[in-house]
Amino acid sequence: MSATETVPAVEATSVTKIFNRGKPNEILALDDVSVAVGRNEFMTLIGPSGCGKSTLLRLMAALTHPSDGEISVHGKPADQARQDRDYGMAFQTAGLFDWRTVSQNIELPLQLMGWSKSDRRERADEMLDLVRLEGFGGHYPRELSGGMQQRVAIARALSFSPSILLMDEPFGALDEITREHMQAELLRIWDETHTTVVFVTHSIPEAVFLSERVLVMSPRPGTISAEVIVDLGHRDFDTRESEKFFERVTAVREALRVPEEPA
């Protein structure tokens, strides 16, 4: 172990999560899971439904607590990190507030943190530029398409420059073409802002395109079954058509394969 090793951005140590403990509908969502996410890394969790990836993400966000084990963010306990507002989150449903304009939605966390009105307005404009939605600040969410709403959600998540971005299938509701476009946008934003990203998905090409490290999870009980390194270097529009891409996609797919049931 090198003495200058930096504290990981997010670390889960032997985390177990049980729902409905003691009742007939008890579920072992995560069993002794350990993950370390490095600074500025883009990491993806992938797995079939019920493998616990969303649960793991929510544990990292301190929205729920482990039944056993611990989560630390930048060396602090997750709850502390939440108080310190170290992360931004984005979900599959954009979760925008219908009653706020696009700008007001982006300003929401800033408002809660006590920023002045002019500071908020300025930052909201910057964020709109970042996600390429200049001029839409005065619109209401229901006037925007799904892809645009997700971009607003990302702008909101990044508005207070968190060091960590947690995303739970944010592009799941979008069509394939918009989805690929949004993936490229997300990478560009990641590049510009140097955030650490933990991304949950169940699309294999998405996982391979976006991240350097893909953790494969399996259900019943939720554990990490494999880790696939994706060393594709800088990603661009041609990446998805390269041989190396296909090879990595296959690697992940095979890691995901459940052994066949005997006839």
Binding site: K23, P24, N25, S218, S225, V258, P259, E260, E261, P262
Partner: protein
């Protein structure tokens, strides 16, 4: 990682059964808890009532010294607010000097009379409401044109309409093969109040199916009536049922108010009116009859809610979607 085996499948089916049983127990527990809350509420009300009476003297004085504030305070003497014990005791007391029939029996019979009006009103209102909804759904233009009037119809107070309907029933309906009785007019009045929520929710429900489902129906080239029966009506069910619960209580209200404003004898409305008029000779009786009306409303509501649960579980058992 265990691979799936047939033993695994059997085990998981067993767990599923147990989970289902557990959930059913939980839902039964919730119902019991809700009834418990209601009982506690009644007890608290009784305590509040009795407690208020205990301050009787002081409050009555307050009413004379501070007339404005005092007007917000009900009088608490035994004539205005009979003690609860007396009210309950009165249920068993005979009503008339001539026979032994207790008050409770009278209230019970009156409640049945009113219940009959409410039930007929409920069903007619239901049919009329669904009928209107079905007709309006065919034409957007008609729907937009007629809907505001449907809403406005509810702003016409019953007190005005009720005597008129009774008179109309007595005079203009002699061509019917059977004798038109006053309680039937009250049923019509109840129906008048009931049809509104059913129509409103019915319209919403009939429109509620997914657009893809409509397109599917169109691709099968079904006639409008089949589309109605196979798609729109089943889609409207949850909306209709929520309207039914409201409609049940409204039907009871309509029946009682109809009776009162039209002076129809035999029902709870008339009983309440009589006891209100003869208040000074027996205030307890008024309270008992009002209590009977309250109970009727709750029972009507409960009945519809119970029916809803049965229908839902029956459909689940047949494998139809909720």
């Amino acid at each position: 990682m265990t691979a799936g085996t047939s033993a695994d499948a059997i085990a998981s089916a067993g767990v599923a059964d147990e989970v289902r049983r557990y959930e059913r127990r939980q839902s039964a527990k919730t119902t019991v808890r809700r009834i418990g809350v209601f009982v506690v509420f009644l007890i608290l009300l009784a305590l509040l009532y009795t407690g208020y009476k205990a301050f009787g003297e002081a409050l009555d004085d307050a009413q004379t010294t501070w007339p404005v504030v005092g007007s917000f305070l009900p009088r608490s003497d035994d004539l205005t607010m009979p003690p609860i014990r007396d009210i309950v005791a009165e249920i068993g007391e005979p009503l008339n000097r001539t026979d032994d029939k207790p008050l409770g029996a009278f209230v019970w019979e009156a409640a049945l009379f009113t219940a009959r009006e409410a039930a007929f009103g409920f069903f007619f209102g239901l049919m009329f409401g669904i009928g209107i909804a079905v007709v309006l759904v065919r034409s957007r233009w008609l729907e937009r044109g007629v809907s505001p009037y449907i809403a406005m119809s509810q702003t016409i107070p019953l007190v005005a309409i009720a005597p008129i309907v009774i008179i109309w029933g007595r005079t203009s309906l002699d061509w019917l093969p059977f004798e038109w009785q006053d309680w039937m007019s009250v049923a019509i009045i109840a129906a008048y109040l009931t049809f509104f929520p059913v129509a409103v929710n019915g319209i919403r429900g009939l429109h509620s199916a997914q657009p893809e489902a409509f397109e599917l129906m169109r691709s099968y080239a079904v006639k409008p009536r089949q589309e109605l029966v196979r798609l729109r009506l089943p889609a409207a069910m949850p909306y209709l049922f929520s309207a039914f619960r409201l409609a049940a209580t409204i039907a009871v209200v309509g029946a009682i108010v109809g009776e009162i404003s039209a002076g129809v004898p035999g029902g709870l409305g008339r009983l309440i009116l009589d006891f209100a008029g003869r208040y000074t000779t027996g205030p307890e009786r008024l309270y008992v009859s009002v209590g009977g009306a309250a109970l009727l409303g709750i029972l009507a509501f409960g009945l519809v809610a119970l029916t809803q649960r049965f229908v839902r579980s029956a459909r689940v058992r047949e494998g139809e979607p909720l």
